[in-house]
Amino acid sequence: MSSPSNGPALPARTYPKRPAAVYFYATCLVDLFVPEAGMDAITLLEREGIRVIFPEGQSCCGQPAFSSGFPDEARKVAASQLDLFPEDYPIVVPSGSCAGMIRWHWEKIFADDPTLHARAAAVAARTFELAEFLLHVVGFQRRDEGEPIAVTLHTSCSARREMGTHLVGRELLARLGNVTLAHHDHESECCGFGGSFSLKHPDISTAMVSDKVAALKATGAREVVTADCGCLLNITKRAEKEDLDAGRAQPSLPGEHLATFLLRRTGGQVAERS
């Protein structure tokens, strides 16, 4: 199946009924850099009465190598992940980018191996981005216990164009009574992360993330929320640098994962920040 990144109209996805358990595939960035987002996502799911299984053998979906032009290395890593989900439970990923890799590109990298290809296809079919899972499978609906607040939302390009979940984040926020969503200029534009792109072409990446941060700040929103940790790190670390350079003590654009935001607003106990 070809990737739908040439969208925009993605085929409508059929969602399963609320399962008893899910596999939580945290992604390498969350495991090592933003574990609190992973903890909050797990708490959110468990609070809904869903058992969350964290496969110990998980490392990475292989995307960094795949998109850098090293498909063999990506294949090795992806192949090591195929055994992690023996039961027929949905696999929930707190990132549109990694979910997109599993859902669309695993099949491609195993195209020459019918056995692995079939297994990858079966995994792809039950892989969901956290936000779409919360909205369409869980039917997330909790009372907003927070003070009125305006936030702005950044949707990753993979969520938007590979997973087709760009409206999902909005819908989840709309279900919080006291949250106003402030739309920003050039909202559908990439934040300039692009994995190794940010290291390989720092000039252009900087130009893009600076524009994104400026657009987010211009909304006057108190914070930025996103469902992808790559974008989250790119945007918040850029904003931090601007604060540092300007000698500001207070962060001008704090950001957090959508899972954390949803949990905190709806009376949940968020994980300790690292």
Binding site: S2, S5, G7, P8, A26, M39, R161, G192, K200, R238
Partner: protein, 485 residues
Amino acid sequence: MSAQPNIRGGDTRPIAFVSAQALRERMHEAVNDPHLRTSFRGAMDFLMAKRAAQFPDESELASLRTQSEGIRQYSLSKLPELLEQLEANLTRNGVQVHWAADPDEANAIMLGIARRHSAKTIVKGKSMVSEEIEFNHAMEAAGVEALESDMGEYIVQLAGEKPSHIIMPAIHKTKEQIARLFADKVPGVDYTDNVDALIQIGRQVLREKFEHADIGLSGVNFAVAETGTLCLVENEGNGRMCTTVPRVHMAITGIEKVVEKLEHVAPLFSILTRSATGQAVTTYFNMISGPRKPDEKDGPEEVHLILLDNGRSQAYADEQLRKTLQCIRCGACMNHCPVYTRIGGHAYGTTYPGPIGKIVSPHMMGLAQTHLLPTVSTLCGACGEVCPVKIPIPELLVRLRGEAQSAPHANPAMVGQGAGYSALASFVWRTWARIYARPANYRLFSWLASRFRMFAPSRQSGWTAARTPLKPAPRRLRDRVRDRR
């Protein structure tokens, strides 16, 4: 050592990285030019809004894209026979058909035609393929004047530059810059930045040229095999002048532009103009079916078509890379590209800039010169999303990155395969795979990274140029999950 070693056939000479460095320098300069940034952002915003206004109905757009993709893929699936059919029908219509493998051959053919007619002046309609073969330089070197008649191309030519966009060649220039250029370069013209006045100045110069030119040159948007018809899409009427006023008309196009039937043209024409300039239809749509017939009052006495390969058959030979040739040159991918918007067209250093340039130039120029181009993308997918013929541009960029990185082998799919190979990058990714493909290795590695987080460097390559450093968390998610249970 030649600047562009051909490593097809297993030649493993080291590759010169000169042009990659040049690309880096051009991009650096462009992205730090505030004037360029503002003007491209404004222009691209305008074009995106124009396109969006043409497609209010998403489902209509989706079905038109699917139809257009289908037509292009169908045409390519029969490309060899359609080209033969095109040649036969054009010949029957009195059009002389020439085949050129590369830019030199194409220029030699056209110079031969010019010499035969003792031509001094060639007036040109807009043609990106003529840019691709550096036609103007070739003619100039042979003492033949080649004058651009498309307003944007005329401006760019006066300035001694190249197009920065395939549809709007002079999009990088401000009104004031054009006013200054005309005052300096067009004899008898005083400075004016009145746009209408500037256009009138250009028109007057060009009117005269049309009258006296020996040859008119044009591109081709669609070549119809079953009828032997060359279709030309334009707005200024200069294309019609070039193809009807001079005694000789030369058309040049890439071999991929052929479609089988006339009925295939209408959907492509519609999605082309709407995607490109946001017009429901262009002012002119020319259908050229041969030279002037004995009972006709106007039209050229001779019509030639030059069909150029220049790397296209290399793309054609590979099922995936063939999708590159679906392109109908609308430019929507560059209008929507966040990278193009920030560096403009010149920084790429290729005839075709932007996303389409990144996937087509490696076939035309070889990967030795272009291997860095496919890396200049976040793979955000905006290009693929708007492409009217659904070229999976991000997927092709990833493929080209792989071709550039792979160690050269005997039957490469592309000239210059492995030109971006670096022993260091290769080592890094092999090591990465060894760590991440084995749970025990990954657990140890990530534990060490977390345990010794205080040693995370404060300068992290390009990352910290604009951001605070990344630091692993003191406890990994897996540790925190385990603690809780």
